[in-house]
């Protein structure tokens, strides 16, 4: 018996090419994103890192049809969305994108269930159906007992799971997450990361994460480094053992300890490290350079 396996090319969810976004004009014009091209595949988790002001948020906003690019194009499942009129964009955002924010952005007056259901209702679902679907999603995320709690009564991790349920309820093709673990402790941050990974793997949704959190690299299929509005190689990146930021080895403050070279975002972090190096290296592992793809 002969078995054959047909290898199909991965399905493209988003394709951006030559994407540029400038603010201001004339002498004060600033290009936040410059000629960026990227392809995101179905079921892929892409992590975009970079220093503050590098254009990550601008890129994420353009990817989510929240901001019009100055030049270039964005295709979602083959359809050009970057040139759509403002009137048509809410529909695209509602059905094709799911957003997850650093500070959760839940509606304080609505319960967990209502926060999720309202997005389905906006997409045209009947209230009862929207609530059923929201309840099922939240229960699936372990919030079955918290459906009728207001956000103020939920922990950070629970709020972020509500936000994830809200992002998923209209079954979008692409999830866009802005610092999804920033306001969470380490354990909950890991849970959220695993959740995002499983959403990509099991549901076939693409996930784009913008973050400074190095831990997310563990679940990402690709890590991209954005600096000065452009993707750069990450071969020479290292992690500041004090603050956890990614830093370029060549440009960073350095210090040697125990025969290993360490890299820091600023002198302050280096001085703090040298004051008590052991406290910053619980695993005694050096800060290695990261790969980029």
């Amino acid at each position: 018996m002969v078995s054959s396996m047909v290898l199909r090319p991965p399905e493209v969810t988003v394709q951006i090419s030559g994407l540029t976004k400038s603010f201001g004009s004339g002498a004060t014009q600033v290009a936040a994103v410059r000629d960026v091209s990227l392809t995101i595949y179905r079921g892929e988790v892409v992590l975009i890192m970079g220093p503050s002001g590098s254009g990550k948020t601008t890129l994420l906003s353009m990817l989510g049809a929240l901001l019009k690019p100055s030049a270039g194009e964005i295709r979602l499942n083959g359809s050009l969305i970057s040139s759509l009129s403002e009137k048509r964009l809410p529909e695209i955002r509602l059905r094709q994108f799911g957003f997850i924010f650093q500070d959760f952005n839940l509606l304080g007056a609505l319960t967990a269930l209502e926060n999720v259901a309202i997005v389905a209702e906006l997409a045209g679902a009947r209230p009862a159906a929207a609530r059923r679907k929201a309840a099922a999603l939240l229960s699936g995320l372990g919030l079955g007992e918290r459906l009728n709690f207001l956000p103020e009564k939920l922990s950070g991790g629970e709020k972020q799971r509500v936000a994830i349920a809200r992002a998923l309820i209209n079954e979008p093709a692409l999830i866009l997450a802005d610092e999804p673990t920033a306001n969470l402790d380490s354990k909950i941050g890991h849970e959220i990361m695993r959740l995002l990974r499983s959403i990509a793997t099991e549901q076939g949704r693409s996930v784009v994460i913008v973050s400074h959190d190095q831990r997310i690299q563990d679940i990402a299929d690709r890590v991209l480094w954005l600096e000065d509005g452009q993707f750069k190689e990450m071969l020479t990146m290292a992690v500041d053992p004090v603050c956890g930021m990614s830093v370029e080895r060549e440009r960073s403050a350095q210090a040697a300890w125990g025969g290993v070279e360490y890299y820091f975002c600023a002198r302050g972090c280096r001085d703090e490290f040298l004051g008590n190096p052991a406290s910053f290296l619980p695993s005694a592992a050096p800060n290695p350079a990261r790969r980029s793809s």
Partner: protein, 370 residues
């Protein structure tokens, strides 16, 4: 989105109280003023309404009592009495004057009544008699209580002292009261011998008052006859015309206060939730969806404020007369309609600024921590 509007309104109790309370107070101001004027109008015509007459006959061209003077010769009584369909006639004298008690002067409609009048006197008596004999007066109980006088005490009317023979009920309004003296005293004091002011007419059972009015006009010269309800309506119209400007100004003030409070609270509420509205836009909410939420919130505030304002007005209408006040509040359908429509206008205008503000929110603000 309706649920969101409802929850937004009720989540912050302090904002709810300010928003709804402000609107309620403004609407209460308008409703209560309307009710006070309606009550005053009703009281002003209390004598006419309670005179038990079907028709009132006056000198030609005179259509009401307030600020009017009518004089009819005694022959009119006989002529009107002979008109087919007329059962009884009662001549009364009338002048707007004062009931003077010590240093206190109380504006009053002074009515001169024949001592054997079968109707046209005090219709509700708190104590004493309902018809005055010569040298006697029936005055309003509230006026007497205010001046702490009792039956048998004296009051001055038309420059003469009268002994109080009875206290009437429901004969005072915010601005005046009704006092009854005998027709003889009235003629003596006013030197109006052989004349009277108005003729109260009762028609025979089954007769149409309007038809009898027509007959009086065709058979008796130089008189103006009206059915009693028409005469009362004319009286109210005169009072209303005199107070229209005051009502209009007070209503405008109430309306503007309501609008300002409503606009401010809806605007600040939308401002406080700016980030949430921006987030909803990022998630795909259309401006129309968000505008509906703002409008719904404004309308909910106004509806609750209206209900609260109406409730307090109705409560005042019940309580105020029991406090011994001359005030009576009467909530009319016209007033409810007017304030209702005004409230909707307030809600619509108040929602405009926040709607404009939300429409201009960039959805990308959600990532900027704005």
């Amino acid at each position: 989105m309706t649920r969101l509007a409802f929850r937004n309104l009720f989540q912050n109790k302090a904002r709810l109280v300010i928003s709804v309370g402000g609107v309620a107070l403004a609407l209460l101001l308008i409703l209560a003023l309307d009710a006070i004027f309606a009550g005053a109008e009703r009281r002003v015509t209390a004598y006419i309404d309670s005179s038990a007459s079907d028709i009132i006959v006056a000198q030609s061209g005179v259509r009401n009592m307030h600020m009017a003077s009518s004089s009819l010769p005694d022959s009119v009584r006989r002529k009107v009495g002979a008109v087919p369909g007329v059962r009884a006639v009662l001549p009364i004298d009338y002048v707007a004057s004062n009931v003077v008690i010590g240093d206190e002067r109380n504006l009053a409609y002074v009515i001169g009544l024949p001592e054997d009048a079968a109707f046209g006197g005090a219709w509700q008596v708190a104590s004493g008699r309902s018809l005055p004999a010569e040298g006697e007066a029936i005055i309003d109980r509230g006026i007497a209580e205010k001046s702490a006088i009792a039956l048998g005490d004296e009051v001055e009317i038309l420059g003469k002292d009268f002994q109080i023979a009875g206290f009437s009920e429901g004969t005072s309004s915010l601005v005046n009261s009704v006092a009854f003296i005998s027709a003889n005293d009235f003629e003596e004091l006013r030197r109006s011998y052989g004349t009277f002011s108005f003729l109260l007419v009762q028609v025979q059972r089954g007769e149409s008052a309007s038809l009898v009015v027509e007959r009086i006009h065709s058979q008796v010269r130089d008189v103006t006859a009206q059915t009693t309800p028409d005469f009362a309506a004319q009286e109210r119209r005169v009072i209303r015309d005199m107070s229209t400007d005051v009502i209009a100004i007070m209503n405008a003030i109430g309306f503007l206060i309501g609008l300002a409070v409503m606009a401010l609270t809806v605007y600040t509420s939308a401002l406080a939730r700016r980030r949430e509205y921006g987030m909803l836009k990022a998630l795909g909410a259309r401006n129309l969806d968000l505008s509906k939420t703002v409008v719904m919130q404004a309308f909910l505030s106004v509806v609750i404020g209206y209900a609260f304002g109406l409730g307090v007005t109705l409560l005042l209408a019940l309580v105020v007369p029991r406090l011994g006040s001359n005030l009576t509040l009467e909530v009319t359908t016209a007033s409810l309609m007017k304030v209702g429509v005004g409230s909707l206008v307030i809600a619509s205008v108040a929602a405009l600024a926040p709607i404009r503000q939300i429409a201009g929110l960039p959805p990308a603000m959600v990532f900027r921590g704005a």
